[in-house]
Symmetry: C2
């Protein structure tokens, strides 16, 4: 069922029917009703591709993230969607699985014009930004969030990793920790660097030495990470606290502690960046620093729409918006 057939049945021209369906004020109420009724009767829905081709816009936004089965990103999507939906747009989700090649492939694909805007969070290994520049050259509005590139001009929404890490580390120090290890992920990402810097600043502020052996850089291999942590926690000079940059590493640490018979928090305190909303309930010994995932997604979407709705002559500043993380200590926040 298409416009042509509808028009024939109604003895109207295609354009009148089209206009009636789109509630144009050039059409009389009477015809509108007639058309609407017929359309409903035949369960007519305008072809998406034809109208998009004609209008050169799709009312859809692409969200590119490393992994969907990740509490942070799924919450961020939720925030983004809440905004996008209000605008009557749709969401197309692409996962890179933290693989640069896939990120590049997706970036190429998105140049075909199927979306009106793109929200992106990079893989841990993205260093070349050629594929991102290409998108910008095609004038497709582009906003980065969380895992953002530092060498490209574009709006970026991030959290204050530095400050949060500093607070988290200080929390450990205040609770008696003296030898604090940090578990990082890939150090290409700015989030890792910021978190590490916050950690180091906290140590300095409290006259604690930075011990290189206490700084672990982990990767995607769970077993290798556990081995590193095991070595650290079995060593003569083992730390009495751990700051995990991501939850996965905190969980690995839990397992190693159990393996080695170390008690939490007596023998060793653990604090973690976490986006598993229920983590603190499921495990009272885990103190967490929580990123406002939902808000980041929502804010990124809001900025993206500013770009989309901006007229050609208007210029939106490419500033970085920094949202605050929350230190979430179970004892002090629960009644």
């Amino acid at each position: 069922m298409n416009l042509k057939q509808l028009a024939q049945e109604l003895n109207l021209s295609i354009s009148s029917v089209s206009r009636a369906l789109r509630d144009s004020k050039e059409i009389s109420e009477k015809t509108k009703k007639l058309v609407l009724a017929k359309a409903k009767e035949h369960n007519y829905h305008a072809n998406h591709f034809a109208s998009n081709l004609r209008k050169q816009k799709s009312k859809t936004i692409a969200v590119v993230i490393p992994e969907i089965a990740n509490n942070f990103f799924s919450s961020a999507i939720n925030g983004a969607e809440s905004f996008i939906q209000k605008k009557g747009f749709h969401v197309l989700i692409y996962q890179t699985h933290d693989d640069v090649q896939q990120e590049v492939a997706i970036a190429k694909h998105l140049q075909n014009g199927r979306v009106d805007g793109i929200m992106m969070s990079l893989t841990s290994h993205t260093s070349s930004i050629h594929h991102l520049k290409e998108i910008q050259h095609k004038n497709i509005p582009l906003v980065f969030f969380d895992r953002v590139p530092h060498n490209i001009e574009a709006p970026k929404i991030t959290t204050n990793d530095y400050e949060s890490a500093l607070k988290a580390t200080e929390h450990l120090i205040k609770n008696g920790a003296t030898k604090i290890a940090i578990l990082c992920i890939s150090n290409i990402l700015s989030i890792t660097n910021n978190r590490k810097e916050g950690y180091e600043a906290a140590l300095k502020n409290h006259q604690l030495k930075i011990n290189k052996n206490y700084i672990l850089t982990c990767d995607d291999s769970r077993e290798a990470n556990k081995q590193q942590i095991r070595k650290l926690l079995s060593s003569a000079n083992r730390p009495n606290a751990i700051f995990a940059c991501v939850e996965e590493l905190a969980i690995c640490s839990f397992e190693i502690c159990q393996e080695l018979g170390l008690k939490i928090p007596q023998d060793i305190k653990i604090i973690s960046y976490s986006n598993l909303q229920t983590a603190d309930i499921l495990n009272p010994s885990l103190t967490t620093v929580t990123q406002p995932a939902y808000e980041i997604g929502k804010e990124a979407a809001a900025v993206l729409f500013k770009l989309i709705e901006a007229t050609a002559n208007e210029k939106i500043p490419n500033k970085e918006i920094v949202l605050k993380s929350q230190l979430f200590v179970r004892n002090s926040t629960k009644k």
Copy 2:
């Protein structure tokens, strides 16, 4: 940059360029190379809408789920995507937020032909299936997973809720539970009914009476649910075990236990259906029954592609495929 412009620059016809780009064997290797080089130079990408309009297919699949920020569904999407991507298709995700109206709106929207197939998991309140029938009438391949309707002919992928609930309840009984409560969600959903039936069967098998007061039907209001559980656990005849049909209800129970000073598992044992992969690590006192979320998504996608790839005369049976859940007891499964 479009075909026309490319053709002009190359002194070729539009159709030749189009063919070359799609690697047609009607084109000489020489011209192909020329075309490919030019295309790359100009960073050309075929317009998605134009080619879809022409070909009447989009190589994209819609996945409709209640909520993305939910471990089960995000894992299911992951499984689906792994399959869909291999086929060179894309994924369009729609959230209903467990709202029937939104589900209907999405179903209507998807009739515009923007996707080649649909995977769907219903809201807890979907009872009318008119909007689902409409999709079928438009001959858009449709597959249901997890939250499936019982009164419509279509492929459905589910887990064996009955058997899993039975095993979970028996696990409690074997560990000394005699008064077992069940926390259900909306009883329109077949999953709830199956889980309840499994629970009841286990009780019968062990000569335990079914106590109506021990069967709670919860809804979307966290506070109301907690109030119900609080009442149950403060009552004179309080149960010594709980089987939670969803994790959220287990977490509520934890909180109430803490509030009332009940010890787990001494005073009360809790077992839960759970899809939070890390739940057992984060909380050793929680025994879980885990659905194979990833596999469900993957299987649903596989079945959907059978429908998509089936020729008109072929018929794919609309049978329900049941995947097995896993009982996940920390002590017995960890080394």
